[in-house]
């Protein structure tokens, strides 16, 4: 998902506007709870709602809402199924989601590199 707005840094008139590394961060993934969910899913092929609930420490409502946002952005695929009579919500990071997370990690490293000592 593209950031809502991007800051630029033009030092003088006529220069190409330069994007600040911090402004390029994926704001959807930068949100702490969503970052926790995405990193948990990054380490596995797929996981169900209960696992994410247990490992993230979020409430059911919070987790549902953040998963819905990640799904809307195409980062997470959610499949509702049944095991016997028990409903099961399987979540997995899409290829796009994996790539977005990898990019976010790199962007964050670049932000640190640009910080003054």
């Amino acid at each position: 998902m593209a950031p809502a707005h991007r800051q630029t840094d033009a030092t003088s008139a006529g220069e190409e506007p330069r994007e600040l590394p911090a402004a390029a961060l994926d704001r959807l993934l930068h949100e702490p709870a969503r970052l926790v969910i995405a990193t948990l899913l990054y380490a596995v092929e797929s996981a169900d709602f209960l696992f994410l609930l247990r490992e993230s420490g979020l409430s059911k409502g919070n987790l549902s809402s953040h998963l819905a946002k990640l799904e809307a952005a195409g980062h997470v695929a959610i499949e509702k199924t049944f095991r016997g009579k028990i409903p099961l919500t399987i979540c997995r990071l899409t290829d796009g989601g994996r790539e977005a997370l990898r990019r976010y990690r790199e962007q964050l490293k670049r932000v640190v590199d640009t910080l003054p000592e």
Binding site: P32, A33, L35, L40, Y42, D48, L50, L58, S59, I86
Partner: protein, 225 residues
């Protein structure tokens, strides 16, 4: 994880890059640890080792006493046990997890690419077994140290598993396994008796550790959804 009845909330975290990196590594470790956390794997592997111990004991007691047919059948039983365990263990653990673990703490599927190819595992196991057999034949003194060798191999693997998963009990099991191997080698005795005692003792240690972990897991995660 919040205790039952306790309100859950967003974890407080301004994600600094170091924090994000730490969280990535932590998430990977937690996902790996989840497979071993419940102790079912230890119970299954421990059970397999106990069966091996019983097999070696039977071999020691029966060989040469019930006739050549019994000896041949007993020798044929060994690959059946090993191959059967190799093929069936992961399936049995998976089924047990489906019934006992996933309803309590959630389902996780692991990426297939993380697993070592079966042909490579087979080749390494074959090479190690061949090396041990050649060494035992060429230098009779080496046979006395077979238990210590097994102890260091299996103990080393358990120690590595402890480091990988962050579960200290595996590191402890690794040390115990190596110690059992060394003590059996120092005690002397035939390789069959040492093998029986080694696999029996390590198998029991794994089963006790697994059962303790499983009881703790069930207590911590309740009756399930």
């Amino acid at each position: 994880m919040p205790a039952p009845g306790e309100a859950a909330s967003d974890p407080p975290l301004p994600p600094s890059p170091a924090e994000v990196e730490r969280r990535f590594l932590d998430a990977e470790r937690r996902a790996r640890r989840y497979w071993y956390e419940d102790g079912l794997g230890e119970i299954a592997v421990g059970g397999f080792f106990v069966i091996l111990g019983v097999y070696f004991t039977t071999q020691r007691l029966v060989t040469g006493r019930l006739g050549p047919t019994a000896d041949v059948l007993l020798n044929l039983l060994f690959p059946v046990i090993v191959i059967g365990a190799g093929l069936g263990m992961r399936r049995v653990i998976g089924k047990a997890k489906e019934r006992l673990v996933y309803p309590r703490a959630g389902y996780v599927a692991y990426p297939q690419k993380q697993r070592v190819p079966k042909w490579l595992t087979g080749m390494i196991a074959g090479a190690v077994a061949g090396l041990v057999a050649v060494l035992a034949r060429s230098a009779p003194g080496v046979e006395a140290w077979l238990s210590a060798f097994q102890g260091f191999m299996i103990g080393g693997f358990l120690w590595w598993l402890g480091r990988l998963s962050g579960l200290a009990r595996f590191s402890l099991l690794g040390l115990v396994t190596a110690l059992i191997g060394v003590l059996l080698s120092l005690a002397g005795g035939s390789s069959t008796v040492s093998g029986a005692l080694f696999f029996g003792a390590v198998g029991l240690a794994l089963m006790v550790s697994g059962w303790t972990a499983f009881r703790h897991f069930v207590r911590a995660n309740g009756a399930g959804e």
